[in-house]
Amino acid sequence: MTKDTQWPLWEVFTQKKQGAPHEHAGSVHAADKELALQNARDVYSRRNEAISIWVVPTEAIIASTPEDVGSFFDPANDKAYRHPNFYKTPEGVNL
C-alpha cells in the first residue's frame, strides 16, 4: 500500500436553514481547522447550500462497526411497544 501523503481528513456538516439540523455533507482534507472550515465552505456551500458549517476531525468520530450490528440494532426490531403509535393525534396538531 502506498503511504497516504494527504492532509488530515475532516468531516463536514452543513445546515441548510435556520433551525434545521446540521447534516453530514462529506469530507475535506486540510492541515488545520481554519483551512478545514474554508475548504468545507468552498467545496460544500459554493452554490448557496448552507447557512452554517461544522467541521470535525474524522479521527474524533467513533463509529459502530459492522460486527456491532447484531447487538446494537436487532433488539429494537421486535418491540413494537417502544414506538408511540398507539395514540391518536389530537386534531390541530401538525406533525
Partner: protein, 250 residues
Amino acid sequence: MKNYVIEYCLRLADTSLILGQRLGEWCGHGPILEEDIALTNISLDSIGQARGFYTYAAELEGKEKTEDDYAYLRDEREFRNLLIVEQPNVDFAQTIMRQFLVSTFQFYFFDALKNSSDQTLAALAAKSLKEVTYHLRHSSAWVIRLGDGTEESKRKIESSIDELWPYTGDMFDMDETELVLAEKSIAVDSKKLKPLWEKKVQEIFSEATLNVPQNIFMMSGSREGKHTENLGFILAEMQSLHRAHPGVQW
C-alpha cells in the same frame, strides 16, 4: 462626465476579469482538490464582478454595446487592468501572494466605493465587498501558513514578494479621470487607501514572519494601458474563440 464613468468601470472590470482569467488557469491543476476549487471559486467571483462593471459601462455607452465587446474585442493597449493581476501564476505561493496583495487592496477599495454617489457603482461595490472579504481571509490564511511553514514554503513565498512588490504601487496611482470622479464622490481616491493597505499587509506579514520590502522602484502605467509583456498572451488565449467565431454562444 459620462465618458469618465465608462472609463472607470472598464478599469475595475478589466482588473477583475484578468485576475479571474489568471486564477482560472489553475482549474484542474490545483495542489489539492479542495484548493483547486477554492481558486476557481475566487476566479468566478472575479469574473462576476467584471460582468457587473462591463454591463454598467455598456448601459452608459449605449450603441448596443455588450459586455462581450469589452472583454473580447479590445486590444492590449485598451485594457486598463492593474499591472499586478496580469503577473503570471508561477507557483501556488506566488498565486496566493498576488491574491493577498490584490484582495487587501480591493477590500479597502470596495469598502470605500460602496459609498459612491453613483448608486450602481455603490451597489456593485457592496456585492463585491462580500466576495473580497472571503478572498482576503483565504489568501491571508495561506500567506501565514506558507511564510511560517517549511523552509521550502518560506523560500517560495519570499521570492513571490520580490517578484510582485514592484507592481503594488500601480494600485494607488491616480490620474485625471479618477481625480475628477473622486472630486464628485463617484470614484475612490486610491491614494488614501495606501496607509490602510500597508497596515494590513504588515500585520499579516508579521504573523507570517515575512519582511515588507523597503524602497523598491514601483512600476506604473495601467491607467494608460501600458502593460507588462504578460497581458498580450492572456488576451490571445482569452479572446481567440470569440475572435475566430464572432458572437459565438454556448
